[in-house]
């Protein structure tokens, strides 16, 4: 095989790189360690500012409303309201091994959380109530937030 490849559709000459550039991110957690520790044991946590009471998800280490750095974690309720959702049919490279999945936004305890909705797309409607859980996907060690319709 020569170094020039030819595009199947157009027949145009393409230089194929014989080497692949792989990336795997290593994200330092710092103050977010607690969030993932809780997720590992099945709890979803958000934070609340001890000074002004503002609540945040995802968790953060200072309050942009009042500037305080005194925030505490709290466990979110297991019931929320599905605000909107979409079924991902064409997946990004890193999720291409999975079947179609539904991503939803759920309001709970005054914050919004993103997770996977376990339901058929046609059975869903905005504003319905859902149960919030932490589950591991089949063949996947990684815990994730899932929503199950209650009505």
């Amino acid at each position: 095989m020569g170094i020039i490849g030819y595009d199947e559709k157009s027949g145009k000459p393409i230089l194929m790189d014989p080497r692949e550039f792989k990336v795997r991110y290593r994200s330092s957690l710092g103050s977010l360690e607690k969030y993932y520790k809780e997720l590992e044991v099945g709890r979803v946590v958000a934070v609340k500012c001890k000074e002004c009471g503002s609540k945040y998800f995802p968790p953060r280490s200072y309050c942009p409303s009042c500037g305080s750095q005194d925030l505490e974690f709290f466990v979110l309720s297991s019931r929320g309201r599905l605000i909107t959702y979409t079924e991902i049919n064409v997946k990004p490279q890193t999720h291409s091994k999975y079947g179609d999945y539904i991503v939803g936004v759920v309001e709970v305890d005054g914050v919004k959380v993103v997770g996977h909705v376990k339901a058929k797309f046609k059975d869903l409607r905005p504003d319905q109530n859902v149960e919030i859980k932490v589950e591991r996907r089949e063949g996947d060690e990684y815990p994730r937030i899932v929503f199950k319709p209650l009505d």
């Binding site: 605000i83 909107t84 979409t86 064409v90 997946k91 490279q93 991503v103």
Partner: protein
């Protein structure tokens, strides 16, 4: 001396006009026929071929792209190829609004008196890798840490959350959104630079497969290779170079909003676009946009985004954007013609070049140089560009005047 400097400052800020002196755009599409260097040169050569601006007139270059180039820092490499060393250059990035962010940088540089002529050069060659990798790259323009990595949301997915909620709140249907695709393909068919120069039917769109349900393939702008270039110039430079078709920048409004879905209060509107429009209208003295603007290009990366744009720009009231498309009011001859170049949908969306390509289009429209069948009637001499990066984390609205 100090007093003189102060007046000079006031002159640049409040008196001197800034305009577009030259434009250029490559053919958009799956451009496997050209290497990336020549793709850049395609738009730059058009700029200089117009005959008003020569390479020596350029003081400085702003390069706009996102992350598709194999080079970590493409600006210097491509500037070298087009032969503009030793002019200063750097890259500006704001996801799909990178082009407008670059123009904003050029506009402010000219306004400050630092440069007379700034070349803004937008490029994206997105077919250099496979589709799944492109989908991954685009998804990572969103909120990677919390939403993309673990939940695999894609860019169509981000906009689909808006479409779901919009349909629920306002009773819009998937057909309504497909009407936008039909319109934009109608005009793409009349644009010799467009990626898709063919019309489609409502059925073609309705029968296309889901990409991020309820968004279908024909609701989506494509993956595109393309480049676009404009020269932003001071009033003085425009007079000196003898530009007889200048288009003036009346205002550029820009604003932001959270990138994350979790920090949004509203899934039926892009608040940053509303703020950018409000600022631009105020500065340009526009009170009734539909009556005072001849033609607009809006960021239709997905058909729902065009409907949201109608409302965010004040062309329609909240929830009534779908009425405009149902009644054909955004075609030539309607209340406010939108995306007569085919939009991102049919012209193509080389993300980092899109904002620049929008300027190219509005300048063409205001000069009366658009192809037959897609030229708006220019009676007020005013055009608008609306360019969104991410799902509103970057928003730019420009008002251009002949």
């Amino acid at each position: 001396m100090a007093i003189w400097s102060f007046f000079r400052y006031l002159y640049f800020l409040y008196v001197m006009k800034v305009g577009v002196s030259a434009i250029g755009i490559s053919r958009f599409g799956r451009r496997l026929d050209t290497n990336v260097f020549d793709l850049v040169y395609e738009s730059v050569s058009e700029v200089f071929d117009e005959g008003y601006v020569s390479p020596e007139d350029i003081d400085y270059v702003v390069f706009t792209s996102t992350g598709f180039a194999p080079e970590g820092s493409p600006a210097g490499v491509y500037l070298e190829y087009i032969g503009l060393n030793p002019k200063a250059v750097h890259r500006v990035e704001a996801a799909c609004a990178s082009g407008s962010a670059g123009i904003y940088t050029a506009y402010n540089t000219v306004r400050s008196g630092t440069a007379k002529n700034v070349l803004v050069l937008g490029l994206e060659k997105m077919y250099e890798f496979d589709t799944l990798t492109a989908v991954e790259f685009l998804a990572r323009l969103g909120s990677f840490f919390w939403e993309v990595r673990d939940y695999g949301i894609t860019f169509p997915g981000y906009y689909a959350t808006f479409m779901t909620r919009y349909m629920y709140e306002y009773g819009a249907t998937e057909e309504d959104f497909c009407l936008v695709a039909v319109k934009n393909h109608y005009y793409g068919a009349r644009n010799t630079k467009a990626q898709y120069q063919r019309e489609i039917s409502l059925d073609d769109c309705m029968n296309s497969r889901y990409i991020a349900r309820p968004i279908k393939l024909y609701d989506c702008s494509p993956i595109t290779d393309g480049s676009a270039a404009v020269v932003i110039s001071s009033e003085e430079a425009i007079k000196d170079m003898g530009v007889d078709t200048p288009v003036w920048i009346d205002a550029i409004g820009t604003a932001s909003m959270p990138a994350s879905l979790t920090n949004r209060d509203d899934f039926t509107s892009i608040s940053s676009a509303r703020l950018a429009a409000e600022y631009a209208y105020k500065k340009a003295g526009i009170t009734d946009p539909v009556k005072e603007i001849d033609v607009a290009t809006v960021h239709d990366c997905f058909t729902v985004a065009e409907i949201l744009a109608y409302e965010d720009l004040g062309f329609a009231r909240r929830g009534e954007g779908v009425k405009l498309i149902r009644e054909g009011e955004t075609y030539v001859g309607g209340k406010i013609p939108v995306n007569l170049d085919g939009g991102l949908k049919a012209k193509g969306h080389p993300v980092g070049a899109t904002g620049v390509a929008m300027y190219v289009e509005i300048v063409k429209q205001l000069r009366g140089e658009a192809e037959k069948g897609r030229q708006a009637i220019i009676s007020k001499g005013v055009g608008l560009t609306h360019n969104i990066g991410g799902v509103g984390q970057y928003a730019y609205v420009s008002i251009l005047r002949r």
